[in-house]
Amino acid sequence: MKKKNKNNIPDSPKPKSGISIHTFRRIIKILYESYPRLIPFTAFCIVFSAIVNAIPSIFVQKILAVVTECLSDGVSSGAVGIEWSEASGKIIPLIIVLIVLYILSIISMTIYTQLMAFITQGFLSKLRCRMFDGMQNLPIGYFDTHKHGDIMSYYTNDIDTLRQLVSQSLPQLLQSIVIVASVLGIMLWYSIWMTLIVAVGVAAMIFVSGKIGGSSAKYFIRQQRSIGSTEGYIQEMMNGQKVIKVFSHEKKAKEGFEEINDRLYQDSYKAHAYANALGPIIMNIGNILYVMSAMLGGIFILSKIPNISVSCIAAGTIGVLSVDILVPFLSMTKQFTGNVNQLSQQINSIVMGLAGAERIFSLMDEAPETDEGYVTLVNAKLGENGEITETPEHTGTWAWKHPHSDGTITYTLLRGDVRMTDVDFGYVPGKDVLHDVSVYAEPGQKIAFVGATGAGKTTITNLINRFYDIADGKIRYDGINVSKIKKADLRRSLGIVLQDTNLFTGTVMDNIRYGNLNATDEQCRAAAELAGADDFIRRLPKGYDTELSNNGANLSQGQRQLIAIARAAVADPPVMILDEATSSIDTRTEAIVSRGMDKLMEGRTVFVIAHRLSTVMNSDVIMVLDHGRIIERGNHDKLIADKGTYYQLYTGAFELE
């Protein structure tokens, strides 16, 4: 008990049966929807194979009865060596029936195990795709507020627990229930008294499995959490290993690890201890039950207590319990308890599988990004008088197609005119990070944002491409309210380069083409040249065909940024957002690529966020942000002449924090 409080882990939430049943039904529903014909067929095979599995005990009993009968006949008649041919007439047909049943059972079993392998993987694949597809539609806020490790564990740990649940526990559950039910039926057919004895024993077994299995599942869930925190600790320490070395902090790191490691050990130990002890306990309760049935059965036989059974009731007679009823009855007891034991071994995986499914469903149930936009971006042709007509082919000219409520459609040329008027915004309701922000960017202008971390620079760009939606105010793109524009089309018209560059596994060429899937190799190369990336890409071992992996780990941060710029360039958007896009490129290289960058920005509306003032100085308008408000605006010369905050920043008299 003392330990428990020190562990500092909140008790696992009590499994609410209501939710679990709901989850269970949902799993079954998805399974059924995925394979509307296969699922019933598989279930049929499982049930059939289970019944066929239970029936042979009747035949075994019959064969043994024949043998016993012949034997006692032979003994009483005094003959030595009863002729096999006499008995075989009765035994062989029984055996043939048995073999037929067995063959049927094996066939159905082979079919359903193969089908289950197929169904399980199909189900998991479908679930994975649904999760992934759903995830693509989630608003960016979801990813900003959830740890990536947690999201990943839906795809790894939780899916794995579901694999166990669907491929093993579910068929086992169905099979065991059917076997238990049919064995129970057969038992009742033979003797109600004996069945009652077995029922009492089984009740005890179920009670024990529930208790121990429940504790085990609780600790398994705890273990899962401990693994998570251990993983977190290791991750942090391994990432900071060099810092640990520099500060000779190794001993402290080990101490911290020992503590967390021991906690994991405790949970793992308890989880497995309960699980491992459960098997022998259930099995031996089964053994005791078996012996009790044999003893009580023997007593019943010897004391000739009348046997009440369904068969007797049906026949309207009251029989006496005999040995050839007792022997198969005992083997049925074994079968019965064997199945209960097997079921009890599945408790863990069922509980964990349901917990995993619940988490997966919670991801699938996240509200997707809403998009009420109806203004779309289309290829357009300009007529002689400047009228715009829509064309299916690529013309290089784009227009906004704006259907109105009265059925008319207007076209507006895509120019890249962005206006924000009196915008207020907060990530959390009631905590605004932007106040009254107004920005006017005309096509071709370069607008820079300068300000301390947290002043709201990135937030403004988040609003333009609608990663987040504004609380109050207006944002218009080419005069159209951005909330009316379909998000995909809006974002297609904006090129973004972020400080944290993310490249994808694939070749350099693939990565550049990500900006425009229809771009030819030449276009990609031209874009790279524009971004000043062509030079170093050519020097890579395989040039543009060099494979990148692990977010381009083999490139320097500056090189990654150049590829990201090329990626945005190939999309050829009228508006670009460069959020600290050149922060990792050293000033010398920046000077070298700046000519390309200038060319890239030519004719585009560009929003630049940069820490380095040298990057923003040549902007048409520089906005100085402070705590979500624009406190100064103007070009470099004007701001210097104003001798305000920008001037202080420029002369180094003010700090950007």
Binding site: P56, V60, L71, V80, I82, I91, I95, S105, T113, Q114, M116, A117, S125, C129, M135, F143, H148, Y155, I227, G232, I234, Q235, N239, G240, K245, V246, F247, S248, N261, L264, Y265, S268, Y269, A273, A277, P280, M283, N284, N287, V291, A294, M295, G298, L326, V327, T453, G454, D489, L498, L503, T505, N550, D586, T587, R588, S614, G652, E655, L656, E657
Partner: protein, 580 residues
Amino acid sequence: MLRLIKCLREYKKPTVLTLIFIICEAVIETLIPFITANLINGIQAGISMNRVAVLGIILILMAMLSLCFGGAAGLTCSKASSGFAKNIRSDVFSRVQEFAFQNIDRFSSSSLVTRMTTDVTNVQMAYMMLIRTAVRAPLMLIFSVVMAFIMGGALATSFVIIIPVLVFGLLLIAHNAMPAFRAVFRKYDKLNESIEENVRGMRVVKGFAREEYEKKKFGKAAENIQADFTKAERIVAFNSPLMQICVYFNMVFVLLVGSKLILRYNGTVIGVGEISAMLNYGMQILIQLMMLSMVYVMLTMSGESIKRISEVLDEQSSLKEPENPVFEVKDGSVDFDGVSFSYSKDAERYALSDINLHIKSGMTVGILGGTGSSKSSLVQLIPRLYDATAGTVSVGGVDVRKYDLESLRGQVAMVLQKNMLFSGTIRENLRWGNENATDEELDEVCRIAQADSFVKSFPDGYDTFIEQGGTNVSGGQKQRLCIARALLRKPKILILDDSTSAVDTKTDALIRSEFKKYIPETTKLIIAQRISSVMDSDLIIIMEGGSISAAGTHDELMKSSSIYREIYEQQTRGNEASEQ
């Protein structure tokens, strides 16, 4: 497995106990059907109620005993395997703590995480399986076969047929399934990596409106893996029908041959009780064979994990501790004599070649150079994060290889370029520099590092919690806290590797002037991008392609170094140049 067995230590005892308990349990378990057969035969023969009761009570006692042994074995084997896993994790973690930088470079941090979690869990499960069944299964198997032959005689020929069939079948399945699974798991890892990539790059995905493209890409990959997975699972799925065929064959064989034998010999050779016992033993044998095949599969599957863990445990630290270490660092002078350095033996070119540099105690040295000019490599040799490939690096006049590492690093504080704070309060983070630092000392270093004002502005001050990766402080704040942390060591040499890049020029200048005021005796090496950060140093070094291309004061370099002049002009007039 043998390599790892050393990690068992205090968990040898539960392991041995497990084996003992399991043997006891197995013995009782095999005896139970034997006595049960007796009981049934007895009831059939109509023996007295007393005899039935005695046998029954014996059986119940045996079952209780078996329950106790089984339960106890369950506890001890969990303890042994969980403890084993704990010790492996702890050993791997400790080993990594002993790594030199060179070793750290060889393993990616995510691979170390997997080794310590997933791989160790695999080993834990395999070990548990091993001690639970490796003794029990063969024991039960042999016992059951022997008993079957003793009791059943000719009936046991059934096993002569099914055992080879089953063994062959199980091995065949295992052999086909294992490579299939290995291949699938490798693909599965790749799939998960691509999901991670997607999550990480979500802003890019959404920014380019590539959601549908990503879905299609993922769908294809998922389908691909589904096909492979299904193939592998289907091989394994043949296990149960194979098992069932053997069980059924045994049933039919025993019933047919058994009843023939009973009748022919008039029940003198075998009786009905034997038949039911034979069916039981048959079941027992098959289950044990199944268990053995599972152990076989698990052990082979965990082989990969064992290999990956052993790799870390076998990794030798590339730094050798001196035999008679020097514990005291006399002063903050630094000397490089003919130093060359490469990160690995087979690197084509040296990261540093023939460096000769002499820095007097208390000097401020600025280091400039483009990306890849090996500025960081140069300073990393001073606290002996790496060893020079040729030549000697000396601190306080003594070769760094002669120092006790902890003493050396205690006097040479370094703020790394890729720096980080750890989850915990600001106070805890700062105290990495000195465990016992008082709040006054914290105040002092924060003042020097220009961190005091923002720390004070946090409602919780030093108790402000830093999130993992330091995400809740700005880049500049993080850098200043890192400098404060290093200052707390009161080092004789302070190295800042591009540590003020996110700090604005004014604060940067303030930090440097505080350095001059409060730690004048400390040798300061400052790597920077900004020329203003190093302009007023006693010595400025320009690095290019792994060697020193120029050195001197600002005035000297303005005259002698064209690179320096170029950088200077760019950064001070920067904009006019690009506007042309």
